[in-house]
């Protein structure tokens, strides 16, 4: 039997896809499926076969106050970092887009934290936050205030972690706003100048609405990062004190590699996957539809 040219093309295409398909199956699809399966089973003791328990692991997880604390932390972390870094990013972009002396230097200052590893950023911020020798407390001491235990006080620690994340992230979002601002037709500004529109209302009525696709794009990225990036916790707090700064992915890590509780780790991972699924849906529906206006 001889293959038609069309079938040959199909075969060829499949072969081209093969390496990526094998790798994606091994490190993305298969682990996703086994994670879901593991979350439905309990491992048997002493070599006994695993036991199907349905949603019992979820029941246990949802009865665990620590899980809710961590989930709540992650929510606070997202709410604390995302709007602040987006607002700052927009300010930065507006600053750098205007006529500003030393614009290149300013832009570089804003963007540089972005290219540092989270671990390095955390190390640097540790110098600020450390209880006795930390810079913040030394400065407070000079001003005559007593020091704050930035990372050790459960009511302050999460805020300290949030502040560092905002610093790390805002410059990255700035570049997207900057690109969007630079692609805006200058006629808009000229027309509004002729009309005598104030800068304030020009921003709120023209610039900000036109930046909406960028804001949505940045928002999606920020949401993903809020779930995905926990590197700084390894240096700053290790999730403590008493889980006050623990985030979901770090909790997965702890369960898997410190408590050796793979089942709980799998169950929390499924929760994370569900959150990411919501974010993905948000991206593929709202964002991809909206960007056509750009």
């Amino acid at each position: 039997m001889s293959l038609t040219a069309y079938h040959k093309m199909q075969l060829y295409g499949a072969l081209l896809l093969l390496p990526a398909a094998v790798l994606l199956t091994t490190f993305a699809y298969l682990p996703t499926i086994t994670t879901v399966i593991n979350s439905l089973f309990l491992p048997g003791f002493r070599g006994a076969p695993t036991e199907f328990v349905g949603l019992e692991n979820y029941q246990v997880l949802f009865d665990d106050p620590t899980f809710w604390k961590v989930a709540r932390n992650n929510l606070i972390y997202a709410v604390g970092t995302i709007p602040t870094s987006i607002a700052l990013a927009l300010c930065m972009a507006l600053f750098v887009n205007g006529k500003l002396r030393g614009r290149g230097v300013v832009r570089m200052a804003y963007f540089t934290p972005t290219i540092l590893p989270m671990i390095a950023a955390a190390n640097i911020w540790m110098f600020f936050y450390a209880p006795q020798i930390g810079l913040f407390n030394q400065l407070l001491g000079i001003l005559g205030f007593s020091g704050v235990n930035w990372l050790g006080d459960p009511s302050v620690a999460l805020g300290s972690v949030i502040a560092m994340s905002v610093w790390k992230e805002a410059g990255f979002f700035m570049i997207f706003y900057l690109a969007a601002l630079q692609s805006m037709p200058p006629e808009l500004k000229e027309a509004s100048d002729l009309e005598g529109t104030s800068r304030w209302s020009f921003f709120w009525r023209i610039t900000f609405p036109l930046l909406m696709p960028t804001t949505l794009f940045v928002l999606i990225n920020a949401l993903i990062n809020a779930v995905r990036v926990v590197d700084h916790l390894f240096i700053l707090t290790k999730g403590g004190p008493n889980n006050a700064t623990n985030l979901l992915l770090y909790y997965v890590y702890e369960n898997a590699f410190s408590f050796f509780d793979g089942t709980t780790a799998a169950t929390i991972t499924v929760v994370i996957l569900l959150v990411l699924a919501v974010v993905a849906t948000l991206k593929f529906t709202i964002l991809d539809r909206r960007t056509h206006y750009q």
Binding site: Q10, A21, T35, F95, T112, A179, P186, F234, T269, L276
Partner: protein
Amino acid sequence: MKSMTPYAPRARFVSIPSLETVAAWLLAIIWIFPLLYAFWAAFHPSEFMVNFELFAPLTLENFANAWSQAPFARYYLNTFALVTGVVIGQFVVCTLAAFAFARFPIPGKNVLFMLVLIQLFVFPEVLIVENYRIASELGLINTITGIGLPYVASALGIFLLRQTFKTIPRELEDAARIEGCNWLEILWKVYVPLAKPTYLAYGLVSISHHWNNFIWPLVVTNSVESRPLTVGLGVFSAPETGVNWATVSAATLLSIAPLLVAFLLFQRQFVQSFLRAGIR
């Protein structure tokens, strides 16, 4: 264009900077301060950590200490090997897959492509537990391959290259075929050269991502032989190890230096790359 216009000539006398300029500069100073502070701490003896004297003696001792207390040379080597390997692997695998998606009649292509895009959200580090198990079944624990392999089939790479390949006119491909090129030659001589800007952008994004990546390398490695810089730095500077702070800041600068220098030299390319990889 706009950025090239010189300052208006009517600024004859020194003008008072506007509120906006002050705010912009203030924010810039706050933003760069942590990094400047790390430089200060690294280049001065530790008693000047919070003692800002303009003429405090400069020293390289902290760097010497860091270098001798942890195998940074080995970490550098590991990170270089990791980043090089990952980027080459990604280029090959993603090019082939992107070519298939752009030009070949594969049944169920759109569904398959959506499946690939899932990886934009489900990263190897989210599936850390299962990926660890798979890596150990494949004998990849504590190897540089183990750190890099899960990232080789990158959805972002496939996506960006597919978009680029789709914009390349078919006429070029037909011309090459008349010249007698087979599919792989067409890919290599027509598509790849025309996608160079995409490779550059994606390459830079990927380099910075893998230079900085932490949690998966931390989990999958357990010895000096395979640890990349980030993990080495994390182990070295964990607060409980009680390492001197000036040494920690020197170590921190050591591990970010190559990327930081590259960024300062090629700022525009970096920023363009992040933009290109982000706006899809």
